[in-house]
């Protein structure tokens, strides 16, 4: 019992350090810094390099890592946050998300993707206290973490810049009026937060024993959960949330095994968002903030094709692959089509209704599993499984996300992120249903008029037809009264509600229809590969879907298709490596957010 609690506290102290940084940045810059997870990873990797390759002792390792990650924090702020200070919140959310992808995959290219042993540098089992066994390492981790927290507390209370940070966090405008240099204070906050994050990386690396360049994404997500649990923006909350989550995870792992860790983390996160979104220590402002997407696509109008142009494009999409392309290229076309369907579901949810989803892989996975399990387990016909997949995906995604409807903006995105990760974790953990990590194989191809649809061209025609139906559906919805109601919610939820629009219900409806479409896409996905496992539906799929719609134009159905061609078709055709591909996605997303927020298919109105 005590062993587990101590292990939880030690692990939780890394979460607490990371969560402190997240809350500090949220307070000062009002940004959820998704790149903070990567700071942890860079801290761990550079710490590994300093200690293993360069053979430095622990204290110089810590100082070196602090320098590296402090600089990284500064760069993150200058590249991804400061330039977007006047843009709506979604811009900085997307850009820091993009930076995290760039940093994680850049680190993979530099260090190599493999997992390596992190030397403990200190003894792990040399001390005892009344039957409780622990090591110098545990004591050191706790001491360093607590020491840093105390230093941070002193810095914020007793120094001029610390007070400036607190003043900016309380009221940015008033602080600026009093002559506080906002830019410098924000830089400082990022540096301080990232120094803490880097140290957390070294401590976490020593504790975990194994690290890889992507270690940040798992630990980082736990830190998000911890910061939200404590109350975003609250520093005591971040510490309490981190330690509490560490202990809860430790007990969960000791009862249900290591795979359960992510499941527990995201279940806790979702539960907090449902029950007490302001966290344990957070304050919730009684009045709503400004809309999340605001005029992000403001002044932008989507390109509209004339009917004959649409007809020509559709005919070409059928004819060209049939006469001119080889099987390999047609298979790429199939992937493009499936991702276009997934992206269209986001066009509806994020573009039309303004709810930024970072977890659209969830309904895709649910649809894929539903179809795969029904067709292999019960022998149900694919054509029957298709609508059922859509329906199950719709119902589950609404059930998971809609309790968060009283939240707005950032919190909705965190809830969707947690949902996406929770579904992936559930697919790993619920063996009895999903066959666990090994996945479902031998999924039969659909049949049409008694013949199996398995040749690439046949699959392509089938998927393309469904894509056109979905496209028609999305376009018609956009032009209807319902579409106008969603737009109003996107533009200003408070005003929409005061005009008689039940915002929560319509947001649920958007997620439901989006989930249905994504679920259909998932069923096609499963049939197309004949094999699925949980790793296929990771966060990278959600990221890709979001990048596709942002690149194409968040509010443009046509943009979803063009974005899928550019982001799925081109890398595949160029046979890019996985890491380079992810790196490219990240860089592209960053570039679009910074330089062309209306997307490829958005026009700038004057």
């Amino acid at each position: 019992m005590l062993d587990t609690a101590l292990a939880g506290l030690v692990n939780g102290s890394s979460y607490a350090l990371l969560a402190l940084g997240l809350s500090l940045i949220f307070g000062v810059a009002n940004v959820i810094n998704f790149a903070h997870a990567s700071v942890f990873a860079v801290g761990a990797m550079s710490g590994w390099w300093f200690s293993v390759d360069l053979g430095w002792p622990l204290w110089t390792v810590l100082l070196g890592v602090m320098a590296v990650t402090g600089l990284l924090g500064l760069v993150i702020n200058l590249v991804a946050v400061t330039p977007l200070a006047k843009a709506p919140p979604i811009a900085a959310l997307l850009s820091t998300f993009a930076v995290s992808v760039v940093v994680d995959n850049g680190a993979q290219l530099v260090f190599g993707p493999e997992t390596r042993r992190f030397p403990a540098l200190l003894a792990t089992d040399n001390l005892g206290l009344g039957g409780l066994r622990f090591g110098t390492l545990d004591v050191t981790i706790l001491a360093v973490a607590i020491g840093l927290m105390l230093v941070l507390g002193w810095f914020l209370r007793a120094t001029r810049y610390g007070r400036a940070i607190r003043a900016v966090a309380q009221d940015r405008d008033a602080a600026a009026q009093m002559g506080i240099p906002l830019a410098r204070v924000q830089n400082l906050a990022f540096v301080v937060a990232s120094v803490l994050g880097g140290v957390a990386g070294v401590l976490g690396g020593m504790y975990l024993n194994n690290i890889s360049p992507t270690v940040g994404s798992t630990v980082g997500m736990s830190a998000f959960a911890a910061a939200t649990l404590g109350g975003l923006g609250s520093l005591p909350g971040a510490v309490a949330g981190g330690l509490l989550l560490g202990v809860v995870e430790a007990f969960g792992v000791s009862w249900w095994g290591g795979n359960a860790r992510t499941l527990i983390t995201f279940a806790v996160l979702l539960l907090v968002l449902w029950v007490r979104p302001s966290g344990l220590f957070g304050k919730r402002s009684p009045l709503a903030a400004e809309p999340m997407t605001g005029t992000f696509f403001g002044a932008a109008r989507t390109v509209r094709l004339r009917p004959w142009q649409v007809a020509v494009a559709a005919v070409a999409a059928y004819v060209v692959p049939a006469v001119a392309l080889d099987d390999y290229t047609v298979q790429i076309g199939v992937q493009v089509v499936v991702y276009a369907i997934l992206a269209l579901s986001l066009t509806l949810v994020s573009g039309q209704a303004g709810q930024i989803s970072l977890g659209q892989a969830a309904p895709l996975a649910i649809g894929a599993y539903t179809s795969a399990l029904l067709t292999t387990g019960t022998g149900l016909d694919f054509w029957l499984s298709l609508p059922i997949s859509g329906l199950v995906a719709a119902v589950l995604s609404v059930a998971l996300v809609s309790p968060s409807w009283r939240l707005r903006g950032h919190y909705v995105s965190i809830a969707t992120l947690a949902t996406g990760l929770l579904v992936a974790a559930a697919a790993v953990n619920f063996d009895w249903l999903t066959n666990g990590p090994s996945g479902v194989s031998a999924i039969p191809p659909p049949t049409l008029f008694g013949a199996p649809v398995s040749a690439p061209l046949a699959v392509y025609f089938l998927d393309l037809t469904i894509l056109l139906v979905v496209l028609l559906l999305v376009v018609r919805l956009r032009r209807s009264t319902l579409g106008r109601i969603w737009s109003a919610i996107r533009e200003d939820e408070v005003a929409a509600r005061s005009s008689g629009i039940a915002a929560a219900e319509y947001k649920s409806l958007a997620f439901g229809i989006g989930g249905f479409v994504a679920g259909i896409g998932g069923a096609l996905f499963a049939q197309q590969y004949g094999y699925i496992d949980p790793s296929v539906f990771g966060i990278s799929v959600s990221l890709l879907a979001l990048t596709i719609v942002v690149l194409g134009g968040l509010n443009s159905p046509l943009g979803a298709v063009v974005g899928a061609i550019v982001l799925v078709g081109l890398p595949e055709a160029l046979r890019m490596l996985e890491e380079t591909r992810m790196l490219t996605y990240g860089l592209l997303l960053l570039a679009v957010v910074l330089f062309r927020p209306q997307g490829l298919m958005g026009k700038v109105a004057r």
């Binding site: 304050k283 009684p286 009045l287 605001g294 005029t295 696509f297 403001g298 002044a299 559906l473 018609r476 919805l477 209807s480 009264t481 319902l482 579409g483 106008r484 109601i485 737009s487 109003a488 533009e491 200003d492 408070v494 005003a495 929409a496 509600r497 005061s498 005009s499 008689g500 629009i501 039940a502 915002a503 219900e505 319509y506 649920s508 409806l509 439901g512 229809i513 109105a605």
Partner: protein
């Protein structure tokens, strides 16, 4: 007939009593204004009445029905429309679409089974029916939309040539005054039983303010019941049947404009207390 009846409304923020036991009533066709120094709780009182905030204590009766704590969308459907202090329009929608959104509570064909909206789970039947209608776009919906668009035209006409030429322009391209007009047109579109205006002339110059006053007087003449929060005393005095003065969250005076204007407590709240004469 009483349109709105507010009884003992209280609401605190972190220990500060923003609204502390406010009661008042508004009769059919009356224009009641709420005035008071900055921070006296006027906007909070409006937010409590219109469902944007929940009261800690007290009751709000709207057309005889207890609507305390009802969500703003339900109040809007029941016939209480409002505008906001800082002017909230839908920036990327056109002026005409903004006003069309105001007509949402009046839609029947486009929002089938709307009565089921209050029932959990079953409300999905209504939502799905609405989706189906949106996809099919039957003649009844098109006819209804054409009717509502005609109504939008007449709402825009209310503001003369201010909004008509800009009907298709996106709301974010409008001048500040025109945004406020768009917002008022949106609030009026559904023919509300009570119109709640939060500083409709904030940020307007004297000419624009006079124009809004004329429009509000015309509304009053047509029998519109109005609850108004406003700083510009001249406008309040000319428009109101009754004036309520708030200070530190409580009503310190109420009555006809002339009476309130000369009430010593009101003068004190606005200008401060006269210091007692200093004895030599």
């Amino acid at each position: 007939m009483t349109v709105l009846e507010v009884q003992g409304l209280r609401r605190s923020f972190a220990g500060l009593r923003a609204v502390d036991g406010v009661s008042f009533g508004i009769d059919q066709g009356e224009v009641v204004s709420v005035i008071g120094p900055n921070g006296s709780g006027k906007t909070t009182a409006l937010n409590l009445v219109s469902g944007v905030l929940r009261p800690d204590e007290g009751r709000v009766l709207f057309q005889g029905r207890d609507v305390t704590g009802l969500r703003p969308e339900r109040l809007a459907e029941a016939g209480l429309s409002r505008t906001f202090q800082n002017g909230r329009v839908f920036g990327n929608l056109s002026v005409a679409e903004n006003v069309l959104i105001g007509l949402t509570p009046t839609l029947r064909a486009a929002r089938p089974l709307a009565r089921w909206r209050d029932i959990p789970v079953l409300r999905w039947l209504s939502l799905l029916a609405e989706t189906a209608v949106a996809l099919v776009d039957p003649p009844s919906v098109r006819r209804e939309l054409a009717e509502r668009e005609a109504e939008v035209e007449s709402q825009l006409d209310r503001f003369g040539d201010r909004l008509r030429p800009r009907a298709e322009a996106a709301a974010h391209t409008l001048s500040y005054a025109n945004r406020r007009r768009t917002e008022i047109a949106r609030a009026l579109a559904s023919g509300p039983a009570l119109l709640v205006l939060d500083e409709p002339t904030a940020g307007m110059n004297p000419v624009e303010t006079a124009e809004v006053l004329e429009q509000l007087l015309a509304l009053k003449a047509a029998g519109q019941t109005i609850l108004l929060v406003e700083h510009k005393i001249d406008l309040v005095m000319r428009l109101s049947d009754r004036v309520l003065v708030l200070d530190a969250g409580t009503v310190i005076a109420s009555g006809p404009p002339d009476e309130v204007r000369n009430d010593p407590r009101v003068i004190e709240a606005y200008l401060g207390k006269r210091r007692p004469a200093v004895r030599p």
